[in-house]
């Protein structure tokens, strides 16, 4: 049977404040274990939390960028559960009065725009990290706790069950990530855990209005695993339903290596979090004037930037979408254009050579060895006819590894394009003379033969001959 897929996402993102949410400890990633800690984040007896105002500001920014209503009065609550990475055995979070509610985000999938509604955004503290003595939890006889991450501020962004496919889920997650990056409030590094995602998935027959029983999938630690995890879970539920079975409401974990989801706990084993209003913190009162001030100072967001790239630089919808999907890529584009790079050429290079090299090395554009200025200088050489587009790729390769400027490389390697007609004519005539069979084939109507002759000319000039001139001069002489 063909089912409708219903997905809601819960996105957790670590905010990049300098200090933790309830104490002055640093949030720096990668510090030596248990060095960014104090009595407050260690939950020692007698300590009290104090809200980091920056966290509230960041949460309001996210709320506004995701078209939410900012609640003028919100509060923190304790989510009670026992886990050794949680020193107080409760997580200070927000329950019934979160900072932002009723938002939405428009995504594009297969050329169509779709609105995903956002239920709520709330602030909470992160937990610590367990380091097990063995290779797996079950083979370990002890564990150590690193509390550096305890108390790092988190936002949880909860969507309505409006997502209908794995592709939509991925597009939504990518867009939320882009917005958080544009707001400069999170590093959004899935590999470091600063962006995490849980998916609630259920199926129902088309036309049915009530929701089917859902499973919550955890441990989706990359865009790829979000897509694969959902795809797997959909098939798993389809098979159960097709066999006349019932999906059990449960929490499942995604196993990236095995490519499956596995049960963690069912509804009966589910935590009763016994939420309690946090008595150690006063309610968060956000002045509407402050909200408007933050709104007025929001940076340009992906949609606006995409429009600008289309309007001001004539990029296609597709190109502009790809470039603005990442703030860093869009920044690279803008900087290149500011260096007098021709917009369309910059876009092509960004989506082509640059992206290819970044992917193969597994790095982001922030670590790109070729600067926007260097790229525009390379493009200027093509524009002037100093080098051909084909040679430019060789030069780019060299720029990538040596970090030298394009002009230096072209000079050092003698890659300047041959545009002197007498020089080209001499080579053309030589090639015609030594390849009579190809010439005859061409004259007999075999158009392909000209390709062979051009190839021979390029071979002799090591690709440096101006391709347009070669073509013209060759045809004239045939």
């Amino acid at each position: 049977m063909d089912y409708e897929i219903v997905i809601g996402l819960e996105i957790h993102t670590e905010l990049k404040t300098n200090s933790k949410i309830f104490c002055g400890c640093s949030t720096k990633f990668g510090s030596e274990q248990n060095t960014n800690v104090c009595p407050v984040c260690l939950g020692l007896p007698g300590v009290l939390p104090v809200i980091n105002e920056k966290v509230v500001e960041f949460a309001v920014k996210a709320g506004l960028a995701l078209n939410c209503e900012i609640l003028p009065f919100s509060k923190f609550d304790r989510k009670n559960y026992y886990y050794p990475d949680l020193p107080k055995n409760f997580q200070t979070s927000q329950y019934d009065l979160p900072i932002a509610i009723n938002g939405h985000l428009d995504i594009e999938v297969n050329g169509e725009t779709k609105r995903i509604n956002i239920t709520r955004i709330h602030m909470e503290e992160d937990a610590g990290k367990l380091v097990h003595s063995g290779a797996t939890i079950s083979s370990s006889d002890s564990a150590l706790v690193d509390y550096n991450r305890t108390g790092v501020p988190l936002l949880e962004i909860v969507s309505e069950p409006d997502i209908r496919s794995a592709e939509e889920a991925r597009a939504y997650l990518e867009k939320v990530k882009a917005i958080l990056e544009y707001l400069d409030i999170s590093d959004c590094k899935m590999e470091e855990g600063s962006l995490r995602c849980d998916a609630n998935i259920s199926l129902r027959p088309h036309g049915q209005t009530t929701l089917g029983t859902k499973a919550e999938i955890k441990n989706l630690n990359s865009f790829r695993s979000v897509q694969r995890g959902i795809e797997y879970e959909v098939i798993r539920q389809e098979e159960i339903l097709d066999d006349g079975g019932r999906v059990i409401q449960e929490t499942r974990t995604w196993d990236e290596n095995k490519g499956i989801t596995a049960s963690m706990r069912n509804k009966e084993q589910a935590h009763d979090y016994r939420y309690l209003p946090e008595p150690d913190l006063v309610p968060i009162v956000v002045d509407p004037a402050r909200v408007e001030d933050i709104r007025a100072n929001l940076p340009e967001l992906p949609d606006a930037r995409k429009q600008r790239l289309m309007n001001d630089h004539g990029l296609s919808d597709y190109d502009a979408s790809i470039i603005t999907a990442s703030k860093a890529v869009a920044d690279y584009f803008d900087q290149s254009v500011q260096n007098n790079g021709e917009a369309k050429a910059v876009a092509n290079w960004l989506m082509g050579e640059v992206s290819k090299h970044l992917n193969s090395e597994g790095i982001t554009i922030l670590e790109c060895p070729v600067s926007p200025k260097q790229l525009t200088e390379l493009l200027a050489l093509i524009e002037k006819g100093t080098i051909s587009s084909k040679i430019a790729k060789t030069v780019f390769e060299e720029m990538w590894s040596s970090r030298k400027d394009a002009e230096v490389i072209v000079k050092e390697k003698g890659l300047v394009q041959i545009s002197d007609s007498s020089e080209i004519i001499a080579i053309v005539e030589g090639v015609i003379a030594s390849n009579p069979q190809s010439v005859a084939d061409y004259k007999a109507g075999k158009d392909k033969a000209i390709g062979f002759l051009v190839g021979q000319i390029m071979k002799q000039t090591k690709g440096r001959a101006n391709p347009d001139m070669v073509n013209t001069l060759l045809r004239e002489r045939l």
Partner: protein, 488 residues
């Protein structure tokens, strides 16, 4: 008269006039502790050496002609749920028997800044849960007026130490009456400030929305002095009130002409000792004679306050005490796995009353019961607050007994938690509404002190201090000294 029998303000006079030295005072009180603490058992931890060093510093300041504060060189005790850097802070619980905080509570810092001498950490009901100090995980404290009776609780060690001359002043904490009730039982003065008046930073939480630190002293004058030092906004405590601190000693005025006092009839509950009721009535007559206007008023939700408290306080406690799990500090009992370790640690190291309240609170917050219990209790709390708001539209202060009876026999209520809870019936509504109240001696019954509670409006400490001071100046109840059974 022996030095340990004086009040802090009297000893301060002796210090600045160089009649005695701080070291002499400290030695006198330490000697008293040596002599009587085997009977009273007020202290869990003693810090005699550092106390003498602190006293010496004060003597040097006096020698150099420096100005010293009223508590400088005056020895006192801190309830053992107030964190002290480098000094064990146990909450009278086996689970924290070895816990040494790496930081000071804000009140401890403030006292240190005034050169107050700290003699040690006072016994209490475990995690401040109880009204007799019998729930201490280590040993019970005895009432210096009669060693067969309880000193009250949960700040029983603090109150007994002050009454017995084992400390000139002390700090306690009050969640449902834990400063005022032991003060009443021990014949001393206990003040619970407005919620938020004194920083809770470093006070090991029992019920965060109710807990408040306050002074236990020999007289109202010392209470005002200690309040001057410990009050004020603290950036480390989000719930502390950001308001200026008046000089409370300016309220030590023997004049209550025109003060409107209210007597809430609902506080005179069934089971109230006739002598307690008589003492309060006599006190009211006396206050009226001194110029106060008296009015009987009604606070109709009083009878529900106790039940609401025993939902709200345990609910918060169940969460506050979750951190005692044996993972990173405190007592640990090894188990087969982490859950087993949690269970064994908490089963072994928490006492019965603490377990009872954790279970009560966990139940009240559980899904399916939350609305019926916890949420309902919060609504009752709002109604109780409204009772106080309405009352204070009519009167300036309310007067009630602090506790329905005088101190009871050790063991008498140990197996009857409900009877024990009823001892807090007059004090609990005050915590639920957050207003300040003071308990001071107003008579004796069978040789045991009776306490009178004066309740004020939010931040109305000055008014209750003035009323209490006036009553005290016109009576001698505070001048008697606990006999410890030495002189019958």
């Amino acid at each position: 008269m022996e030095l340990f029998k004086y009040t802090a303000s009297q000893l301060h006079e002796k210090l600045v006039t160089k009649e005695v030295s701080a070291v002499e005072i400290t030695k006198a009180v330490l000697g008293r502790v040596d002599a009587v603490d085997k009977d009273v058992q007020a202290y869990i931890t003693r810090t005699s050496e550092s106390a003498l060093a602190q006293a010496k510093t004060v003597d040097e300041k006096i020698e150099r002609g420096e100005k010293i504060s009223v508590l400088a060189g005056i020895p006192g005790a801190l309830k053992d749920n107030i964190c002290t850097k480098g000094i064990k802070t146990t909450c009278a619980s086996k689970i924290l028997a070895t816990f040494v905080p790496p930081y000071d509570a804000t009140v401890a810092e403030k006292l240190a800044a005034e050169d107050a001498v700290i003699l040690g950490k006072a016994n209490m009901d475990e995690f401040a849960m109880g009204g007799s100090t019998e729930n201490s995980g280590f040993f019970p404290t005895r009432n210096p007026w009669n060693l067969e009776t309880v000193p009250g609780g949960s700040s029983g060690g603090s109150a007994a130490a002050v009454a017995a001359g084992e400390a000139i002043w002390a700090l306690g904490s009050d969640t449902g009456g834990s400063i005022r009730q032991p003060a009443a039982y021990c014949g001393v003065v206990g003040l619970k400030p407005t919620y938020g008046r004194v920083s809770r930073y470093g006070l090991v939480a029992y019920a965060s929305s109710l807990d408040q630190i306050g002074p236990i002293t020999r007289d109202v004058t010392d209470s005002a002095h200690v309040m001057n030092i410990i009050s004020g906004h603290d950036a480390k405590d989000s719930t502390s009130i950001n308001a200026g601190v008046p000089d409370y000693t300016k309220s030590l005025v023997n004049n209550i002409k025109g003060l409107k006092i209210g007597l809430p009839k609902e506080y005179f509950v069934a089971g109230m000792d006739a002598e307690v009721e008589r003492a309060i009535n006599k006190a009211i007559e006396q206050l009226v004679a001194l110029g106060a206007e008296y009015k009987e008023i009604s606070m109709p939700h009083t009878e529900y306050a106790l039940s609401a408290y025993y939902m709200i306080a345990p609910a918060e406690a169940s969460s506050n005490l979750a951190r005692y799990d044996g993972v990173s500090f405190g007592h640990r009992v090894e188990g087969n796995d982490i859950i087993d370790m949690y269970k064994k640690t908490r089963s072994e190291a928490f006492g019965a009353e603490v377990k009872r309240r954790i279970m009560l609170g966990t139940y009240a917050l559980s899904s399916g019961y939350y609305d019926a219990y916890y949420l309902k209790a919060l609504k009752v709390r709002t109604l109780v607050k409204q009772d106080f708001d309405k009352a204070f539209e009519q009167v300036d202060v309310l007067i009630t007994p602090t506790a329905p009876t005088t101190a009871f026999k050790i063991g008498e209520k140990a197996n009857d938690p409900l009877a024990m809870y009823l001892q807090d019936v007059c004090t609990i509504p005050v915590n639920l509404s957050g207003v300040p109240a003071i308990s001071l001696p107003c008579g004796f019954a069978g040789g045991m002190p009776i306490g009178m509670q004066i309740i004020g409006k939010t931040l109305g400490e000055e008014t209750i201090i003035r009323a209490a001071y006036t009553f005290e100046q016109n009576n001698d109840y505070h001048k008697g000294f606990a006999t410890l059974g030495e002189v019958k």
